[in-house]
Amino acid sequence: MKNLIKKLVESIGPSGYESDVRRLVQEEITDFADELRTDAMGSLIARKGTKKGNGMRIMLSAHLDEIGLVASHIDEKGFIRFSTLGGVYPRNCPGGRVRFMSGVEGVIGVERLESSEHNITIEHLYIDVGAANREDCPVKIGEVAAFHRPMLDLGNRIAAKSIDDRIGVAILIETLRQIKESPHELYFVFSVQEEVGLRGAGTAAYALDPELGLAVDVTLTGDTPKGPKMEVSLGKGPAIKIRDGRMLSDPRLIQHLVQAAQNAGLPYQLEILEGGTTDASAIQISRAGVPAGCISVPCRYVHSPSEMVDYNDVQNAVKLLVNVLSNPIQLDKSAA
């Protein structure tokens, strides 16, 4: 699976510009899906199986897009000022390398700050592509870039840009490949524009009208020096989301996922994330409402160019998903 992850994280697809990543995913899953389509927003939707007996129509969602930058101004000396696509933290930018969709690469520089007390903002930053002046600059206003760097394989752990949420994409691809028998009609949605407001998942959920929704995305951890007070760590298993900044997971689904993990002897953690959200929150309020939850991959340094996950957590997330989706799902009313 590491090769798949490497391919995914080393491709570029900021929100609204997911074509390259979509093509890559399409190649990977075309032999395993019963039906494949790209919707009006650009989300890739793969169906596997049909509803049998007590099966459900289930939407799974992992987002294709990543945070990125848009060139907004090029000055006389050829320096590029930029605006952001999604939640780019200015403090994570200086010294970073970026790659435009055209293939042009550059580095992010920072103006000299007036004092050490000064916080870096986007206004202090610029991209230097090595141009001598404006005429020499190969980038035009409106061109889109993403962080650029190769994946770092640290054995049990992997660091790369856009682990958020290519790791979810990789998990869904692997799950789709491994599922043999299922009573459910499964829709694997590789959604667009998550980082700018869960926009692809919302429209896909409306179109698919699922009876159950499950996102696969990253979550923060509390296991780094002076990190947030949060009981999620790398390597202790995939996290079953209880809540995040914009969603309370369906308690019946939480109970089902916990039970499934316990029965299968898979490690898991319970996740309470105080900020941020996932595609699941858009699915939950779609149409007349959809019971929704999320399986999260614990990830350090989210929205930086070096996001880190544990490879065992990734593999266990696949095992949990394959297990859950291969069996009937009963939502126990008493859990609500």
């Binding site: 949060m230 809540r243 309470i272 939950q284 309020i285 149409r287 019971p291 009313k333």
Partner: protein, 353 residues
């Protein structure tokens, strides 16, 4: 007729935090069943109750919502025998230390919110309101016992008992928004002896305090022609701006602003004047802070209205309302319903004056 204060106290004694409304929903089902023609539960747990109109086959349909979910806390970690917490809905950190709570673990545990002494806080954090990340809940058990009974994600409700005050006032937690659920119940009681043409769906919504989840989804299923949200609003009290609060016990507020259909505001205003029910106009320049914000734009959209019940000390365990204002809200809703003509929708246009 049921004594509304007793019913309210019964509601306040039940948990039902956002996303976990089953306990309060069960009581409402039991109370509303004999008063309604049909009951069902949405996929997100909202309770839908139909009071059928007497009109022709293709009756228009009114949806009145009051959210039944309450704010509270959730366990995010266990530190020795103490529990770390986060909020569900907006909880004011300033009032937390010293509060009695109930931790809904494998069994219910009484507990208290405690703050560390100032000298144990990081430099600069002492001598002021202690941030929630430093607060803990003590349930009085030993570490091993706590780990058996409590786990991450367990809910924590306020433990303050509701109580009646002189002057027909009631204080307690979760009056936001169970005061409005009580008003819907008063409305249902009134409808038992009123004739009406429209179908009326009373909806006790879920997750208002977090995501407006119930309000975004129930109208999609019910497809109402008009939506009304009943919710609490700020009553005048210590430290509250005169111009953004309304007197307690002196009538309901009627919402006005882009979240409100002007013709519905005027219909309610005229009705209040005719029935001699006191009211205040409540300007809602943007988000009304109610279910109406979501319901107005579900699917193709619907004309919307907000009826407010003034409440003091919002989002604390001693919220305070006037029982009279609850009765008034129930009555004006019922009278509005009784006067709804089959072609009412054709007569209203968006005239913003």
């Amino acid at each position: 007729m049921m004594e509304i204060s007793q019913f309210l106290i019964k509601m306040l004694s039940l948990p039902g935090l956002s996303g976990y409304e089953a306990p309060i929903r069960d009581l409402l089902m039991e109370t509303w069943r004999p008063l309604t023609d049909d009951l069902n539960i949405s996929r997100l747990g909202s309770l839908h109750a139909l009071h059928r109109g007497a009109g022709l086959d293709s009756r228009p349909c009114l949806l009145i919502s009051a959210h039944m979910d309450a704010i509270g806390l959730m366990v995010t970690g266990i530190v020795n025998e103490f529990l770390r917490i986060t909020e569900i809905g907006g909880v004011d950190d300033r009032i937390l230390p010293g509060q009695r709570v109930v931790v809904h673990g494998r069994r219910d545990l009484p507990g208290v919110v405690v703050k560390p002494p100032d000298f144990l806080l990081p430099p600069g954090k002492g001598g002021q309101t202690v941030a929630r990340e430093y607060l803990l809940v003590d349930v009085g058990l030993l570490p091993a016992e706590v780990n058996q009974v409590v786990r991450l994600g367990d809910l924590v409700s306020f433990g303050q008992e509701p109580f009646e005050l002189s002057g027909e006032a009631l204080a307690g937690h979760s009056l936001d928004n169970r005061a409005s659920v009580a008003a819907l119940t008063v409305c249902l009681q009134e409808l038992q002896h009123l004739k009406h043409q429209w179908d009326v769906w009373l909806v006790a919504t879920t997750q208002e305090e977090e995501t407006l989840g119930g309000a975004f989804t129930s109208p999609f299923e019910i497809q109402p022609d008009i939506v009304i949200a009943v919710d609490v609003t700020f009553a005048k009290g210590p430290g509250v701006n005169e111009h953004t609060a309304y007197p307690l016990g002196k009538g309901n507020t009627l919402g006005w602003g882009p979240n409100i259909h002007p013709a519905l505001f005027h219909t309610f205003k005229d009705l209040a004047e005719r029935l001699e029910i006191p009211y205040s106009m409540e300007a809602m320049p943007r988000h009304s802070g109610t279910d109406a914000y979501a319901m107005q734009v579900v699917a193709g959209g619907a004309p919307s209205m907000v009826v407010g019940i003034p409440l003091r000390y919002m989002h604390t365990p001693v919220e305070m309302v006037s029982l009279k204002d609850i009765q008034r809200a129930g009555r004006i809703l019922a009278e509005f319903i009784a006067r709804l003509e089959p072609d009412f929708l054709n007569k209203i246009t968006w005239e913003d004056h």
